[in-house]
Symmetry: C2
Subunit: 228 residues, 2 copies
């Protein structure tokens, strides 16, 4: 059990810009942070290094890394099956090849398991529906369905815990996320966004994630520290 | 995508008696089986050997083993945190120490991910609510909530797939499960049920799982091949 004087939250931390901002909002809201990073076979493994930097910066109470090999299922360019799209408008219709089947359900299930052990009812995830690149498991109705499942799934839920999945960025643009992060003095130079980085970790600038990030900084009127 | 002439199902296979029977029912119902075994850090790892034997016996199209270290969270005697209860009536009130936080949600999420990649909408899980030992994530209302989450979570769901979580054993006693298995000519000598087996894999006969199994065979009027 965590200290009841200050509420705690389990935050999913990928090492990207969104989850960093969501976790920082949780901290600003008074939560003690338990950060969970899931190594699910993403080919852009330097995200994991970024997650460690971000966890240190956020002064989390604990940072747990857990591995689950979603690449065994195939079906996503993000875990090495096929090629990540580059050089196209990221707002085109349809679900991109980087969609990882059931990823957020797996991530939230793991966060739920840890939360129950910690005696924590609040989960934070950095999804957003506006810039969501067509991923179905970033929509509010999905998150509500997961909350209901969480309450029914757990001993804590049976005993009255009201699990909540907080998605503070859910209806924000990337520019709004970055502006909020700037107001919280976040150092986005710690993060990593690119789906197909160079061996030295440098961003490609051409995948959906790089394009959305670049446009977000531009619209927020800020300079990406990674582009300096 | 799997062959559309015969429907396929993803079946969660633990190596225990229940999941073997549930998978055999799926096969009897005409499904081609894709068996998923999750190594989640259970201390009774000889279950995994049993899962391989059972998968061979069921002639599954594919048997995938995937690892996720739920022991990292702690909180369950089944993953090495504390001691598994022995020598007590298994129907006592309350949730036992062998409860693994969010386990079935993690298992079903992984099954969902594989199902989506395979183009499969039917999942089978061997839970039952009557002999359920007090686990909240074995109740029908939980499974319905997960189905709804699954439909909202996935590209396939967005495109119209109706994911179904089949739990054919849900309201059966252990004796009814065993009787059904016998009618399907299942060899329960292939399975493993004990939570705290001896180093050579022999069952303790004293944990909840052993007690429920022994009573089930007795009530079904059958002899457990493992007891011979």
């Amino acid at each position: 059990m965590t200290d009841s004087a200050q509420p705690s939250a389990v935050v999913l931390l990928s090492g990207g810009l969104d989850s960093y901002t969501a976790a920082a909002i949780a901290r600003a809201d008074g939560f003690t942070l338990y950060a969970l990073t899931v190594r699910y076979g993403q080919v852009h493994a330097c995200e994991l290094e970024a997650a460690r930097r971000v966890a240190r910066d956020l002064d989390v109470a604990r940072h747990l890394e857990i591995e689950v090999d979603l690449a065994a299922f195939g079906g996503s360019s993000l875990t090495g099956d096929g090629t990540v799209e580059q050089d196209r408008p990221p707002e085109r219709a349809g679900i991109p090849s980087t969609y990882v089947p059931a990823r957020n359900t797996v991530l939230l299930s793991l966060a739920l398991g840890w939360a129950e052990v910690l005696g924590v009812a609040d989960l934070f995830i950095g999804v957003n529906a506006l810039d969501y690149s067509g991923y179905p498991d970033c929509r509010p109705e999905y998150l509500e369905a997961f909350e209901r499942t969480a309450r029914l799934a757990t001993r804590a839920g049976v005993e009255g815990a009201r699990f909540r999945v907080h998605a503070p960025l859910i209806d924000w643009t990337k520019a709004q996320i970055i502006a909020r992060g700037a107001s919280l003095a976040l150092d986005y130079g710690l993060t990593h966004s690119c789906y197909v980085p160079a061996p030295d970790g440098r961003a490609c600038g051409r995948c959906d994630s790089c394009q959305l990030r670049a446009r977000g900084f531009a619209e927020a009127g800020l300079t990406d520290p990674l582009s300096r």
